[in-house]
């Protein structure tokens, strides 16, 4: 086997290996390094009481209740399923109804989630505050902007 032949074979093997690897990784990676689950992704396999996990979604409209100055109750939804959440602590500035949020904590029972920390998630839309008013007045406000 000459050196050149070895190189040629190796190049072919390398290319097929990289191709196979990219296929394997792209096919499988999506569900695995999620920073959080969405409420409808929570099912029997990843649900356990007292297991620490993160859930991401939107704060459901008309669900936010302030119990005391530092304890809150709200629901996290992804428009298919929603989860009741209780939280003691300081909420980030951006946190409001209809806003994206990621919460970290554990299920205390089958339906209630006790959050130990709350992160607000904002989307990729940026627009001036004045324009939002205009859009709302003229009725062009897109619900998608949240």
């Amino acid at each position: 086997m000459s050196l050149r032949f070895q190189r040629l074979v190796l190049i072919l093997i390398t290319l097929t290996m990289i191709l196979a690897a990219i296929l394997l990784i792209l096919n499988n990676v999506r569900e695995n390094i999620s920073y959080f689950y969405t409420p409808s992704e929570i099912n029997n396999s990843n649900f356990a009481i007292d297991k620490r996990m993160r859930i991401g979604g939107f704060v459901e409209k008309n669900s936010f209740n302030k119990i005391s100055s530092s304890s809150f109750r709200f629901r996290i939804t992804d428009e298919k399923k929603s989860i009741a959440v209780t939280f003691n602590g300081i909420l980030p500035d951006l946190f409001r109804e209809g806003q994206g949020a990621v919460i970290e904590g554990f299920f205390v029972n089958n339906i209630t989630f006790n959050a130990t920390s709350v992160f607000a998630k904002h989307d990729e839309n940026y627009m001036p505050a004045s324009i939002k008013k205009d859009l709302k007045n003229t009725g062009y406000w897109n619900k998608k902007y949240k």
């Binding site: 390398t14 394997l24 390094i33």
Partner: protein, 224 residues
């Protein structure tokens, strides 16, 4: 072709002899691994629930650290006594030499390591049903570590000022491996897809390894 196979067999025979005569260094690595586990257990305290929670993470970190201990032996001896040049003259391309070296490093250094893993699992009070997953993930992970070790040690052949950088290189590139293989032990439901990802990472490192370390070997031999 038959001639080539004979050379291959001779290569592995020689590697076997070499590693057998230098088996004490592998033993040192294994001892390091266990002593480090002991220090972890003593510093955390022997609470079973905490240990089994942290166990896999501790094992992976220490496995990584102790496999960087043997980096210097990877090519250095063969490089200094001229065996790499001889192999090349005998008709192996540098890329092939790197692949063979990686395989032999895996067989003679990482496999003895893997045999001792179940004992570490018992020490860290990890339940028996998890050991199977741990062995599989460590098996794939150790091949990846062999490839990364080959890359970093061939890069540092001529480096006699700051050898520590080799360990840093291995650790940085093994971060994704750790993320996926520790995740594999936590969740059994998507075991298959995690194994596939690990396998994908393995293929990528195995594909990059001969080119990167072959180029470095060539460089080192030409400039020595």
């Amino acid at each position: 072709m038959i001639n080539f196979l004979k050379k291959l067999i001779y290569f592995f025979y020689r590697e076997y002899k070499l590693y057998l005569s230098g088996f004490h260094s592998v033993l040192t690595m294994i001892t390091f691994f266990f002593v480090a586990i002991f220090t972890f257990i003593f510093s955390i305290g022997p609470k079973d629930e905490i240990l089994s929670l942290l166990g896999v993470g501790i094992m992976w970190t220490l496995f990584l650290l102790s496999s960087t201990l043997s980096l210097r032996k990877y090519y250095q001896e063969d490089f200094e006594n001229g065996n790499l040049v001889l192999l090349h003259l005998r008709g192996f391309s540098y890329e092939l030499i790197c692949i063979l070296k990686t395989i032999s490093h895996f067989i003679f250094v990482q496999i003895p390591f893997l045999i001792f893993l179940p004992i570490a699992c018992i020490l860290l009070s990890i339940s028996i049903d998890k050991v199977y997953y741990i062995i599989i993930s460590f098996f794939l992970g150790s091949i990846i570590l062999s490839c990364l070790g080959s890359i970093s040690s061939s890069m540092n052949l001529l480096n006699n000022r700051n050898y520590l950088i080799g360990s840093v290189i291995v650790i940085v590139f093994s971060i994704p491996v750790i993320i996926f293989s520790v995740g594999l032990i936590g969740q059994y439901d998507n075991f298959n897809s995690l194994i596939n990802i690990l396998f994908g990472i393995l293929l990528i490192t195995f594909a990059i390894n001969p080119w990167a370390s072959g180029a470095c070997l060539k460089l080192a031999i030409e400039n020595n």
